[in-house]
């Protein structure tokens, strides 16, 4: 059984072409079926779609999400949505907020529990996703027409990301396994929407002690090749435990 009054939506951020992107889709019941457990669930979803014509528009995009199945844990259901959408497990995922204005969705009352997730779209090819055909990346400051209060939800998630990224080294989730310091700096600049001083940025990052020099370098670049670093998950987990020690 699905809970008609509760949906779970994921704001999936990606870092692509030096831009911060959000993954959206145009939901149809057949695809939502992949999040659900039973044929009954699917039947309920179809009824909801019939009740709410806004969901059927071709011109509006929405967050990837679904009504919650009664037997699923909230966090696990968000993970399930995410792994179904991206084909990836173990993605950084965090609850943002629950949205609950009475008129945010027409025709029936629904609260949306919003999560945000960070992935690297270059590294993780979404063609493997079973939803691939309905998914699309959009630049954060060039969003399409969206349904309901999706823009508000994205803005809130972005605000939360901006806060988190300053105190927790969260941004690493958006990069490939091996990356250059310039990529990392650009990522921070894009998320925070401001220029950072290269020398100071490097000092701060190196002081954290989170980076492992892989010994490798970029290849085939028309300039001095940059070192490639990877990211020490053990030290990261320690830092997360201890909390706010770090500030960009």
């Amino acid at each position: 059984m699905i809970l008609k009054n509760i949906s779970v939506d994921c704001v999936i951020f990606g870092f692509n072409n030096d831009k911060l992107n959000v993954l959206l889709w145009q939901a149809v019941p057949e695809l939502l079926r992949k999040f659900l457990n039973t044929d009954d669930d699917y039947e309920q979803i179809r009824v909801l779609f019939d009740e709410n014509p806004a969901l059927k528009s071709d011109n509006f995009w929405g967050l990837i999400g679904s009504h919650l199945c009664a037997e699923n844990d909230l966090d696990c259901f968000a993970k399930k949505i995410l792994s179904t959408a991206t084909g990836l497990d173990n993605i950084y995922l965090k609850q943002v907020k629950t949205f609950g204005s009475p008129d945010r969705v027409p025709h029936y009352r629904v609260l949306t529990v919003a999560y945000y997730a960070l992935i690297n779209p270059d590294y993780h090819d979404l063609q493997h996703s079973s939803l691939a055909k309905s998914l699309k990346w959009f630049e954060i400051d060039n969003l399409p027409e969206v349904i309901f209060d999706v823009k508000e939800i994205i803005n809130k998630a972005l605000k939360k990301l901006r806060e988190e990224v300053q105190y927790y080294p969260v941004g690493f989730h958006l990069l490939p396994e091996k990356f250059t310091l310039s990529q990392l700096q650009t990522l921070y600049e894009v998320i925070l929407n401001k220029k950072l001083d290269t020398r100071n940025f490097r000092k701060k990052i190196m002081k954290m002690g989170l980076l492992i020099d892989t010994g490798e370098k970029q290849e085939n670049v028309a300039h001095r090749a940059a070192r490639l670093y990877s990211f020490d998950m053990n030290i990261y987990n320690h830092l997360i435990e201890e909390g706010l020690t770090f500030r960009i």
Copy 2:
């Protein structure tokens, strides 16, 4: 109509006798009625209580809250709970998180949207509350037996309070209108659960420019009388707008 799958609970913090306290109650349907809109709502609540014997125990305490009425905005409903419980409007109130394990409440599935609030119990006499007889303050590290996952919710709210208090001058909401710097320091020490250096604390606080010297002093104290300060709401609102400028 009430939404059977959604409840809204408030973790109400108070600062009393130099301790951080939480306001709990033992809910009964007749009192919950005050949060609700219609007799039908009340009837539904009574059914839920009958279905769930845990709610009727005399030995367990719970957070002040209720199932959400379908026609009410989520934030407004939390405010309504709070003002009914305390008799006070314009209280600092913030969403913490939504709790959604499937087994957190026996017999039926319910997600709880938790809020936290800060009030000053010396200053605001809860005897005026229409729930007064069922309410009780408990010290944060001396909680009674609580129902369901209330302890987890309180801990999460406390963690959030600890984070917020370091970057936003939120703690002021817990003090009377006029207070001494020692009271403020004790409040921070209690919330953060660590000693602070008096001279450094005073420097930081004064640098914020949030305090107005009322010109008054304590009276009838067996030691040098301390100055009484009040708290400049205008500057506070500016600081909140601009965000993270301040760190204890």
